[in-house]
């Protein structure tokens, strides 16, 4: 195990597929539905190789009918099956949001707990490759805002596998948001970091547990997804300037590991929240509010928020670069709160 951990590394997509395949082998009631998930193997390799082992009955290409197949996954889950439905780009939720937030997320509560919806909704998120306003959003806040869905966002292969096992086994609907730039695609090279050693046996990363990726004493940088890696890069720069940053990978948005955030903020007294999603009414505001409400006395500076501005995502390269926060933006914010 330890030798394996040090010598072998897999991409996030392969780790994700590994967990899905294991669950499908062990439970006939697990199946995968989505556009281009069978012969193509998922546009972002989210199902690469599954068709060969499980066939078209369990790895189902579906019509371009998100309302129908995501709603159908909900219905099959209410029958007790464990479907995984893939929304190819999270932006496409616009065509099927009713089935997600008025149905999938609410059946359990509206039925007074009589009904459960044990399904996973996988979806690709994120920019960095100039796909413009309709194919680059993260929308973390949108899903996390609406009650009734658990929401997870892996930043590396180890978490991708463990969160997928946990998501499929969970009796509630889990939205599993994977960042395209982290998957390890040949045509969209990942930064350093998401490819990790992954235990061969199955394991769960508990939904609702954040992870301290780097310990530090001066400032807490709280983030998720792609920006975990940008925050870690920023922390290296900050260290050179004598600022010791702690980096927290949220991994889950619902439930949110509030204690992990508060523990860190109480220790460092300073908070930077980093999000690829829009600035207003979202994650950065939520976590800043948490810190000011519950750790006010420990804060030595107002929290800083580093997020995407409230504009649709522009196409042109210099505009998208301006739009997306990079490690320099994160380091600047950390410098501001520690000044």
């Amino acid at each position: 195990m330890s030798q394996q951990a040090s010598e072998r590394e897999v991409t996030m997509s392969r780790a994700m597929v590994d967990a899905i395949a294991t669950e499908m082998r062990e439970n006939d009631e697990v199946f995968y539905m989505g556009e281009d998930v069978a012969d193509y193997g998922g546009i972002f390799d989210s199902t690469q190789g599954l068709l060969d082992e499980f066939g078209h009955d369990r790895v189902m290409d579906v019509p371009i009918s998100e309302t129908a197949y995501i709603g159908a996954a909900t219905g099959a889950a209410m029958e007790g099956m464990r479907p995984i439905a893939e929304l190819m780009f999270t932006d496409f939720l616009g065509v099927c949001f009713d089935q997600i937030y008025n149905a999938m997320a609410k059946h359990t509560y509206m039925s007074g707990g009589q009904v459960s919806v044990p399904m996973v909704l996988t979806t690709a998120v994120g920019g960095t490759y100039n796909d413009a306003a309709q194919h680059s959003q993260t929308l973390y806040g949108t899903f996390a805002h609406l009650p009734g869905m658990k929401v997870v966002v892996p930043s590396n292969a180890r978490d991708a596998k463990g969160l997928m096992h946990a998501a499929i086994r969970d009796d509630d609907p889990v939205v599993y948001m994977f960042h395209k730039r982290l998957m390890g695609l040949g045509w969209m090279p990942a930064p350093e970091g998401p490819k990790t050693a992954v235990p061969e046996e199955d394991y769960e990363v508990p939904i609702g547990e954040a992870e301290v990726k780097r310990e530090g004493a001066d400032v807490s940088i709280v983030t998720l997804g792609l920006h975990v890696h940008r925050a870690l890069a920023a922390a290296e720069t900050l260290a050179d300037d004598g600022v010791d940053a702690e980096v927290i990978d949220l991994r889950s948005l619902v439930p949110l590991d509030r204690e992990a955030i508060l523990d860190s903020v109480r220790k460092t007294g300073r908070l930077v929240v980093v999000d690829e999603d829009y600035h207003s009414f979202g994650l950065t505001g939520e976590i800043s509010a948490l810190a000011t409400e519950r750790a006010w006395d420990d804060l030595e500076a107002p929290p800083e928020r580093v997020a995407s501005p409230d504009v649709p995502i522009p196409y042109s390269r210099p505009l998208e670069q301006e739009f997306l926060a990079d490690s320099e933006d994160i380091a600047d914010a950390a410098n501001r709160v520690t000044e």
């Binding site: 371009i64 009918s65 505009l319």
Partner: protein, 342 residues
Amino acid sequence: MLTADTMRDLYDDVVTARYYEERLQEEYLEGKQPAFDISAGPIPGELHLAAGHEAAGAGVCAHLRDDDTVTAPHRPHHVAIAKGVDLEKMTAEIFGRETGLCSGKGGHMHLYDPDVNFACSGIIAQGCPPAVGAGLAAKKRNTDAVAVSYLGEGAIDQGGFFESLNFAAVHDLPVVFVVEDNDWAISMPQERVTDVENAADRAGGFDLPGERVEFDDVCAVYEAAEDAVGRARSGNGPTLLSVQVHRRMGHFMGDAEAYRPDEDVERAQNLDCIPRLEDDLRQAGVSDDELMEIREAAEQRVDDAIEWAKDQPEPAPEATYEDVFSNPPQGRPMAAEQGGDE
């Protein structure tokens, strides 16, 4: 048989569109060798090229005026060219330049040219309801303008399409829905996801005319569209038109099409609307020299547009914060606290 003049115009459109896609393919792949990297090269983002779809663009748009509306999907260039979208500005937009149609904000899937009432979108079937809206506006204002919504055969399973057909039908709106049937929704062959072979059959359930053009034959599309657009313009309501086309360059650049049988790829290369139209033109007495002249002029236009576009400046980063609203609240909205003003 169409007149030679009509066919010359159609030919001009289809060869312009084909050459445009070939040139964009070259430009797009620059810097993406030996391994394909979506973030490299002069053209940003994804690129969905429409080589093999030209008959549907030219044959329908030949009947349209500037005040008629067209909504196109993510594979829009051939339709844009046929509708008369400014070629230079469109190209600059595809290259992400400041002087592009949309100042570099939209990109190849989000081209807007209000001068000729053209728009496109990256979400499947998203253009259907706005086309219905354009038809509704024409009806309310008592104009004879029409609207055309282009969509792929994969889009005929999308709810927005069904709802649009019904809305257009019940109000007798001047809308033509044009399905470009290339048999593939990315990797999904039509028979795996749709139990209807002929997309025009979808019309039956909504009590509107459905017509099918079986081969990507520019003249046949022209004739079918003449009826459909004519019906719309004369107040006789919507039509669903399905046109067989072929996908010659994959779903997007970078699509290795491993899922697609070799025979099908070969078929798409052989079933080409351009030689067919050339045969028709020759029969109408147009010489090969004249065809070559039309082609060369088209190629020159495309080369000039690409050269012009590549010379254009990229937008300044500050432009990111402009255009969110037509009536922005107190200048640049909300930029200061978001890093935009620092």
